[in-house]
């Protein structure tokens, strides 16, 4: 019997863009599934609608730019943008907002700069911010998590709400929606309530909002998978979560009743999704290791500052976009020393 012998080098398949993107999508599955479990079918419908729109927009843009269409769509980067957008927006977002957001992300944020690899900003977050600034009411109408939801919608009902805007009989938007934990925390802090008083509400679980903290855990699982597969390096997530935790705990230590505890910031809103999936975007983030540490730490600081003193409920998108803008500068000042060269002499 003859065995097939393979000569060296014994290496894995070469990394390709498609494989990377598919692995990130795979890592997104646990978190996304948890969101569908807690917040209903709307998330799934948004994901499908956003992906379809993204592929169509990408095809249109490539046709206009006279580039090959099939290989670029086959790299799944547009689909990944669409999925990240879909898990960031409210489950019952009207369909035309999803379409506007994705069209903006693909056409104006990504393709107009030259497509994948050239966009200075994260497309999904730019679309999220565009919609949040333009349509604050629709973008903050979140559903309560599954265990607090008195009127869970079926798949068909969710689709009806998203595509036609008609609510199931007898329900109003006010009965259906609920402020996110992060939103309700800071609104009530503004009304000079105390943190311990706010946390009495059934909205809260062990660390953050009920349901939300578990979504965070599942995203963390996906993030660890990405770290294990070396799609992302540890620098950005660790420095971002670390600096957010540091500043949150510092202020919590100074005044326990005015600033919620550190883990609250980690397990509410989009912090974990942002730390592992969004801030680590290889195109718009820093590329040097030292730079990535600075970049992540600044995002963490910005998240804390905007959440605590800013006007919008969540801050991850704003923080990531602001630091996207700073990334080239950070990279410039954190160039690693080439091996064999001496560092700048200080006399």
């Amino acid at each position: 019997m003859q065995f097939t012998t393979i000569t060296s080098p014994h290496s894995d398949r070469p990394n390709s863009v498609s494989r990377t993107m598919l692995l990130v999508i795979l890592a997104l599955i646990p978190g996304a599934a948890a969101m569908i479990w807690y917040f209903g079918w709307g998330i799934l419908i948004n994901m499908l609608l956003a992906s379809f729109t993204a592929v169509v927009c990408e095809a249109i843009a490539l046709r206009l730019r006279k580039r090959p269409i099939v290989p670029v769509i086959g790299d799944f980067s547009a689909v990944l943008t669409a999925l990240l957008f879909a898990v960031a927006v409210p489950p019952l977002l009207p369909w035309w907002l999803t379409v506007i957001g994705i069209a903006f992300a693909i056409l104006l944020v990504k393709q107009i700069y030259g497509g994948l690899g050239y966009n200075p900003f994260n497309p999904a977050m730019a679309a999220y911010v565009l919609l949040l600034v333009s349509y604050p009411v629709q973008m903050t109408s979140w559903l309560p998590p599954e265990m607090l939801n008195e009127h869970p919608l079926t798949l068909l009902q969710s689709a009806m709400v998203i595509f036609t805007g008609t609510l199931p009989g007898g329900l109003s938007w006010d009965a259906l929606t609920m402020a996110t934990p992060l939103d309700s925390m800071f609104t009530q802090l503004d009304q000079s309530k105390m943190v311990s008083e706010i946390l009495m509400s059934p909205l809260w679980g062990d660390f953050g909002g009920r349901g939300w903290e578990w979504v965070g855990n599942w995203y963390l699982l996906g993030g660890l998978f990405l770290l294990y597969k070396r799609i992302i390096s540890w620098h950005i997530p660790v420095s971002m979560l670390g600096s957010l935790l540091f500043f949150a705990m510092l202020f919590h230590f100074l005044d326990q009743e005015a600033y919620p505890f550190g883990m609250f910031h980690i397990f509410t809103g989009g912090t974990i999704l942002g730390a592992f999936f969004i801030a680590t975007d290889p195109v718009s983030a820093c590329t040097t290791k030292k730079g990535q540490l600075v970049y992540g730490a600044c995002i963490g600081l910005m998240v804390f500052v905007i959440r605590t003193w800013g006007g919008y409920p969540d801050a991850v998108a704003f923080a990531v976009l602001l630091l996207n803008m700073a990334a080239p500068t950070i990279d410039y000042y954190t160039q690693p020393r080439t091996f064999g060269h001496q560092g700048a002499r200080r006399d």
Partner: protein, 233 residues
């Protein structure tokens, strides 16, 4: 200069050397006040008036001013006219004056005006200088109004709202609305909308220019014979 016919001056000002879309001068008022068509039009006309008068004056005094001190003199001339325009608007268009606010005195700092004074008026006779000022001003006004209309339409779903500020009470019915159900995109009338809108307008102008230069050789041959080919090209 001998090669500057009036036609070329006008074409330069309105299109091929448009101060807003090509030279990218005067961006501060351009981006700040164009949240509605009427605001854009109002500031554009004020700028045009200043530009025509300053170009004329600079052209008249061009042989009297020593080159070493020309820039301060130009600024003084421009500032005097801006003050005159500001006081007139205060007198006759008070509501519009209140809306435009600080951006009327800021016309002084509009680089388009001192740019034209330095680059054109100080080297040319009175008539070309006036025509140049008028053409450049109108080009700037067109860009301001177009950007204002675009932003107002996307952001609020209306066009020419508050036209009565400028044209008197008759104009209050000129407002075109896309209907009360139109949910405007708020970002268009916020500062980011100005940058996005201006970028898109410049892109559109470049596309048109590209098409025109491509068409030219075809159009010449088409004019000779085959009309069908000319229209499809």
């Amino acid at each position: 200069m001998s090669n500057t016919g009036y036609g070329k001056l006008i074409k330069d000002g309105l299109w091929s050397n448009n101060q807003a879309l090509v030279a990218l001068l005067g961006l501060c008022p351009l981006l700040a006040v164009t949240n509605s068509a009427i605001n854009g039009l109002g500031l554009g006309i004020a700028t045009t008036a200043v530009l025509v008068m300053s170009n004329a004056t600079v052209s008249l005094i061009r042989n009297l001013v020593r080159p070493e001190v020309r820039l301060p003199v130009f600024v003084l001339v421009i500032a005097s006219f801006v003050t005159a325009v500001e006081l007139s608007m205060n007198a006759w268009f008070f509501e519009l004056y209140k809306v435009l606010g600080i951006f009327i005195p800021l016309i002084v700092t509009n680089c388009a005006i001192i740019g034209r004074a330095e680059a054109f008026a100080s080297k040319n006779h009175l008539a070309p200088a006036i025509i140049d000022g008028l053409a450049m001003g109108l080009g700037f006004t067109c860009a301001l109004t177009a950007l204002g209309s675009l932003r107002e339409l996307i952001g609020l779903g209306t066009l020419f709202s508050q036209a009565d500020l400028m044209f008197g009470p008759i104009a209050s019915e000129w407002t075109i609305s896309l209907g009360a159900n139109f949910k405007g995109m708020l970002i268009a009338i916020l500062p980011p909308g100005a940058f996005l809108g201006l970028g898109l307008m410049i892109a559109l102008k470049n596309i048109i220019d590209k098409r025109l230069t491509k068409k030219k050789p075809v159009a010449v041959t088409a004019a000779d014979g085959d009309l069908e080919a000319g229209t499809t090209a």
